[in-house]
Amino acid sequence: MTDLLPAAVAHELSEEDLLRAYRIMRTIRAFEDRVHEEFATGEIPGFVHLYAGEEASAAGVCAHLDERDSIASTHRGHGHCIAKGVDVKAMMAEIYGRSTGSCHGKGGSMHIADLSKGMLGANGIVGGGPPLICGTALAAKLQGTGGVGVAFFGDGASNQGTTLEALNLASVWNLPAIFVAENNGYAEATASTWSVASDNIADRAAGFGMPGVIVDGFDFFAVYEAAGEAVARARAGGGPTLIEVKFTRYYGHFEGDQQSYRGDEVARARETLDCLKRFRGRVIETGQLAAEQLDAVDAEVARLIDDAVTEAKAAPKPGRADLETDVYVSY
């Protein structure tokens, strides 16, 4: 298990790659900030878990994926969906429970999915995704597509038996799978330093016969580099990898969480560690992108999110005719 990686890979990325990565992170941030505001107005139903602050993980990992590849997400799934290319307007409509949503309003925030994009869904069950990814990775292996499966899961999920079993199975079957442990410091109100008995989640990799890596989750390039190695190894038949991504979530566990269990880490993170700020600083400093280009992305994304919310609110809700459909293919 290696230590925090240096992120010296910015140069590897083309201008286009960099702009795409930035656009994805900005879109996630803008989406989540807006959902946070809208939720406060009482217009969004149910439980909503926001990904703001963690953008570099979804963006850095998914930058290596294509249509052969699949991902499984968590209850905190908006960022993974956006990074894997799920339509942002359909996502917003889904969160509002509209029939124009990704799941026709039947799933909501915790179940947004787009299988056509290889996005197997946000998941309301902690630890629900890793076993599924053993299966998508197995399919890719048997079909010889060269595809990989990526399971995103949290520090809390790293204590769920389903996750631990999946790590072992992926090694035993030598699957092209990547396990991304998003350690944002908390599972609800419980610190990962308390609930994870080892110093790092990555320390568990050795017990399941795979490499374990730790990366700075606020640094897109660090995540990008570690994920690149893992994906390349998986595609080459080298088996699974466990990547622990360390960072902090900016909002509460879910919308409405008073967060009295927290210290001031969010303020500090937003100020000094923020993945978008660091990305901007880095690429401008290296001269790979100009501030104007990035500002243009910001403006474009802001319009997209505005439109998404406006259209979602205007969209129809599913009705009685939809209640009992979509349970089976045939029954």
Binding site: G46, G97, G124, G161, A189, W194, G263
Partner: protein
């Protein structure tokens, strides 16, 4: 002396009273206190919906937070129960039973029988069930029929703050494994609850309303739905007897059968999906044991055979409501042998 308190407060009070009374009672679950290892305050949550709030500071060392490892900590509660403790473990949402069910039905439920009557396992598993909070398919299920199916378990489904307090105290004092199902949409429901400690025995239904025309058996939150329907029907001259079994296992068959003997008509209202549900269970029981008294088809009002939808427009259609109960009662009263 009764005061008006919420279902949430009634449950919290029952836990506090039993922890006061019996040092062997402990509480455990994910964030039942909240804040372990965190820089901020402890007891930050008191459970995801605040049901166990305050117990952590009141009963030092007896409220244990857990990792997200339901098999391990539910199993731990069961193991501890075999060694003299009376743990109350929280399975946050009943929907999560799928990651820990083995410990409940193959271990706790079967110890006494497998071991020839020599095991005593006084564990309580508190868990949230039910639709209504737009929590979607994996956080809104009823699932108590699955626990009711298992010999060795007792299953409690309180329909009001009064029932919640008395039944939870009984559950903690009971020497068998108990699954205590709290409806998540009822935590803010208020009602009169005595301040002192009291128990409600298992297997004794509550007749929530008297009436001679139709018997309505309703489970958990459906009791209030049935009572709404009954008062609407009363205005049109149909008097319903509303029975709340309070525990689905053991089930008070006698009270149900006696009522049907006098009314001749039965409607069962159950929030769970229909197949192998409580509705089917009770209808099947009555169709064998009180057939002679039946004068109309047994009407069953349940959720549809679908997962719980997210959209409010769909979830409102999914949950049985008073109108559907009214229609079922009318179908039963208007039915004619053709």
């Amino acid at each position: 002396m009764a005061r008006t308190i919420s279902y949430r407060e009634a449950i919290n009070e029952a836990l506090a009273l039993e922890m006061e009374r019996d040092p062997s009672v402990i509480v455990m679950g994910e964030d039942n206190a909240g804040g372990e290892g965190s820089p901020g305050e402890m007891d930050a949550w008191g459970g995801v919906l605040g049901v166990t709030k305050g117990l952590y500071h009141r009963f030092p060392g007896r409220v244990l937070d857990t990792p997200i490892s339901e098999s391990a900590f539910i199993g731990a509660a069961i193991g501890a129960a075999t060694r003299g403790l009376r743990p109350v473990a929280e399975l946050m949402f009943i929907d999560f039973m799928g990651v820990c069910f083995d410990q409940i039905y193959n271990q706790a439920a079967k110890f006494r029988y497998m071991f020839g009557g020599k095991a005593v396992t006084p564990v309580v598993i508190r868990t949230m069930y039910g639709a209504g909070l737009r929590a979607a398919a994996q956080h809104s299920q009823a699932l108590y029929p699955i626990f009711t199916h298992i010999p060795g378990l007792k299953v409690v489904v309180p329909s009001s703050p009064y029932e919640a307090k008395g039944l939870l105290i009984q559950s903690i004092r009971d020497d068998d494994p108990v699954i205590f199902c709290e409806h998540k949409a009822m935590y803010d429901t208020t009602g009169d609850v005595p301040a002192e400690s009291y128990t409600i025995p298992f297997g004794e239904a509550n007749v929530a309303r008297d009436g001679g025309d139709v018997t309505i058996v309703a489970i958990g939150r459906m009791v209030s739905v049935a009572l709404d329907a009954a008062s609407q029907l009363s205005t049109s001259g149909i008097e319903c007897e509303v029975i709340d079994p309070r525990t689905t296992s053991p089930l008070d068959a006698d009270t149900i059968l006696e009522s049907v003997e006098s009314t001749g008509r039965l409607v069962v209202v159950d929030e769970s999906t229909p197949r192998c549900s409580l509705a089917r269970d009770i209808a099947g029981l009555v169709a064998q044991e009180a057939f002679g008294a039946l004068r109309a088809p047994i009407q069953q009002v349940t959720a549809p055979h679908t997962p719980v939808p997210f959209a409010d427009s769909l979830e409102d259609l999914y949950i049985p409501d008073a109108q559907r109960v009214v229609n079922a009662v009318k179908t039963a009263t208007e039915w004619q042998r053709s």
